[in-house]
Amino acid sequence: MTLLIAVADSSADGELVASAVNLAKAAGWDARAVHVREPGGPESGSAYAEDLEIVDLEGDASAELARLVGKADVDAIALGLRTTQAPGMGHVTEALLERPTAPLLLVRPGMRPLTTLRRLVVPLEGSPSASTAMRHADDALCARGREIVMLHVATKSTPGERGSFPAPRIVDQEHYEWTDWQEEFCMRFSQCPEGGRHRVCVRVGEPVSTIVKEALEDGAELIVLSWKGSFAEGHGAVVKALLDTAPCPLLIVPAG
């Protein structure tokens, strides 16, 4: 596995590269850097990626990065987000999110940096398609000494997808129901081969603020989310909002 860090020759590269390199270490991936010079862009790559081999390319950054994922042995891409003072995700990120082909690590300046990755949060709505993030977390990041928090935010609406397993709408005897529900939730959405430490956490509320609150309180260093690749109305609101508000880096995994 290789994580390709797309540097932009900006001051934000420092936090991006640090978090990306640490994620690569945690997952056992290789890390490489690439600088795509867009028309009118800076001449060379970031000074913050001196320890990495930097490939310089020219052209439309999102197209080039997508091409690299398709052709080279690149399995994930790390990108910097704009600062909170400049909201919006940036055209490269937006373009890659609209046609997701590989997991994207997104790091915004000012986020809590990803260091040793002791804890990560995986928000799960309880549907099979949204559990891709959990499979990715299990496959790549499950390890001894690292906690994966399976965060389910219960809302009034339930996923209509077959095989969904949201928080129970009926709880006859809670001392049985919740234990049963947690075990089944884990079995349904996690197939961790490493036997890592998983904690199912149920919260009620508005998803974005609840995820942010939980990540903050848990001291999470990474939020892993499934993403279906659509910003059309009624879609992608959680991911879009988390790009602006997440307290730690986001790993966006294309939904299965």
Binding site: A154, S164, D172, Q173, H175, E183, V202
Partner: protein
Amino acid sequence: MLPRDDTSKALDREFAVLCFSWNGTVVADREVDPMAVRSRVERLCALGVDIAIVSSANVATVDGQLHARPDVEGRLFLFLSSGSEVYVVGPNGPRLLERRRATEAEEAQLTTAAEALRDRLAAAGLDIEIIYDRLNRRGVDLIPEWPDPSKPPTAELQERVDARLARAGIEGVGEVVELSRALSREAGLAHPHIASDTRHVEIGLTDKSDSMRHVLKALIHDRGRRPQDMIVLGDEFGPIRSSEGSDYLALIPELRRSTFVSVGVEPNGTPPRVLHVGGGPDEFLRILHDQLAYREEVAYASFPDPARDRAWRFEVKGFDPFREREVETWLTVANGECGTRGALEEGSAVSTPATLVAGVFGDGTDEPRLRQPVPAPDWTGLRLRAWGSIVNLSNGELIEHERVLDMRHGVVYRYWRQRLRNGHTLRVRTARFASLADREILAVRAEATPEDAPGRIVWAGAVGVTHAGGPTKATEFEKLDEPGFIARTRGRNGGGHVLAVTTRPAPGSPVVRHMEQARDVIGGRLEPGDPATVDRLAALVSARTRVPSADAARRALARAEELGFDELLRRHRAAWDARWRDADLVVDGDAADQEALRFSIYHMISTAHPSKDTVSVGARGLGGMSYFLHVFWDTEMFVLPFFIYSHPETARTLLAYRYRNLDGAREKARHMGHRGALYPWESADRGVETTPPYGLGPDGEMVPILSGLMEHHISADVAWGVWEYWKATADDAFMASMGTEIMLETARFWASRSSVGDDGRYHIRLVVGPDEYHEGVDDNAYTNVLARWNIGMAVEALGWLDHVDSGYAEELRRRLDLDDAEISDWLDVMRNLEDGFDPSTKLFEQFAGFFQLTDVPIEKLRPRPMAADLMLGREVTLRAKVVKQADVVMLCHILSDEYGDDVARANYDYYEPITSHGSSLSPGIYAAVAARLGDMPTAVEDFKMAAAIDLADNMGNAARGLHMATMGGLWQAAVMGFAGLQRRNEALLIDPHLPPSWKKVRVPLWFRGARAEFEIRRRRAGDEVGITIERTSLRVILDGVERELRPGKHRLRRADGQPWQEVTR
């Protein structure tokens, strides 16, 4: 040559023994690989057919070419070396059984004779060769220059031999044979055996007739068969030019009733006994294949099929790993004794096979109260190998997968096609059931069929570890005398069970069984389309306080084996037919509702035991470990009515379980400082409280569990079950022997539990009612009203007992230390017990202070069902007018003969909007009450909500067990709500309110000794009820008036808003 009609007729049957010569019949020469013959020989052997190959060749030649390896020894025999050797062939190849050894003198005589022949022919100018290395024979090659010694005789060879002999003045092979015979006698051989295959003349001590006599003895006489059970195939029975054909010697007189068939050319015809079909080895193969096909038709025909009517089939198509555990629960087969989840036989990463045993518990933790079931080892495990690969859903591509629960007959079928990574396709079918006819027996038949290539298909059965966990202290495995295993399992500080399992080839399947690494391994080399079918039979014997002896399971298994899968299935189906006759609700017009009802009824029947009063119906049935098979009020209030009206024997047994555990209830009451009987909120094997004091909440936090301490209405619920049963069945014997005592002891508890308040009235404080969002409340209306009712009915029951059996009534009083003063105290409590009822509004206040709680906007309780304590927060629901489940409305439902429609409507209107249905027990009861009150949109909505609890695509509620109370609630909604059949004292009220989508419904019921079948239909502006009554008269209430309907057919009609009228048609 095509067979003649009479020839076809003669061959158109099964032969128990197939005997054939080798060269020319089976193979055209010694170079061909007879693969097709090999596989058919092995399969025929597996089917129990005896095969005899007769040849002058030796074992290296015949076995080296055929190389058949039957899975068992004792079916394939080689009669070789012209009658001098007999071999039996098994999995490891041929083994010599018998060999005739020539004496030294005989050897010398054979050589002398052969050399004399050589000299005579040489003198005539003929150059021949002697073959010395044949057992008990000397061969004389009449044409040594013939280029291919391995080829059988041909017309060309015959002509060349005849020409060669003619040049020496000899008239054909026949003359050489006669000369050989004469010279042999001269050499001292008294009974020389002379044979010829045209090219050779053999002088020997034995010949093919000796082989045939071996066949006759070993395969006909010793196996109790008759000669007509054998077919003998050859290619040279008739004369070849001047000599007899090589197979002529097979025509021994003792086998004159056998069928002889020639597939050879037979240029000079055949003897009269021989049917000539010609065609050579190809025709031989066809005949062999026909013999196989006759038997395999039996195998194909014997695989059972589910009901064709889709309304009886609960179908699960495909395979969804996310949902698999729900599916396993749905497809549980159970019989009250045990239940086996519908896990895949071969297993998968997401499978959780488990067999749960009713009534066998152990200590789950160090806290002895927490009794947990002790599951049995997994008996369903059947691993499958095909073409050397392990077969499972991960190997290659899933082409088709469907499972069908045949609810009519309690059988789960599976249909599966898989294209393996090796490119081959396999078709698999299984059928499993837990016998309802013999509740100690479980069975599965599994069949695997290669579709596109021959190959070895093998089933391997093993007893595996359960996935259900449980407090198992030890499981000891031992082998059965016959192939199979016994597993004795002991629970920690509890009961145990013995499981005996065996696997065997299904009748007619071309597979055989052998042991391999402690597993039953059954299989064979199969052609495409041929099924490898096995039957796995299991016997499970359990005991509540000990581990039964292995002999008990052995006996049960022997019983099952003696009957066999097909007969077990036939009896099982018959038992289900009988149960459905009195239980089936037939809904015309709404397939989804029909399915939900049959699914519910199937699982209720499966879960309850009709005669074993040490077990009852656990809250989640026998399909999952959830709720640890503990028995709650769900049984009496939700499930019991179904049995009361469809199978009273089972209802009686469920109540007998409560009677058996009355001491546990007395102990709980005493422990809490009360008198009488306080039934445990959760009951297992000992009748004592098994509710844990703490449990885990949504985030794994410890939360106190108060139901065991405060949810006391269960005692009145049990009493209600007793009363309902008695009134609906008129089972006075039960009421006298068990029911009255339960009523009295529970009434005594309520009198003890009540306390006088400052207002001079009696109160029951600190309880949890059915609405568990509010704990530790005072004067829960459901509890208090039912307590009052309990006292009143107990006194009435005692009065009845005084009347019918005063002696026993007196004895009971003495035994219970019950005097008139105490009864007077009870009546005082009954008259003065606070019930929260306001006659002006007709509303019950759910508990003291409920009406003062905070209102919650209705939209916050939508959509339903909703776990309001989770979504709103426990601190909110504690202080708000939010109701978890039918509480006051439940009271109106169960005491509908005391509280009329006006009270029911007032309370329904008030409580329905604020009920979140956060319990699976709620929507079914609400549906029943809504229907009774004519609120059909809500009734239908609630009914479908209840149906979705186990069956919704996106909730997964059933993964760990089914909701038995929901199922009972659905039945009550359909029968008491929609069909409007409700008990009123000792009569049956008829007041249907069918959903708009229901054209009609058929309801069979038992009521006070009468069997009645109702057919209720909605007409354009009215209702029509057809009633067929058997056995005795049925008392019904129509328009508030009670009347008696005599046995026979009745038809009632009412126009909307008009009274009922009985019509003639």
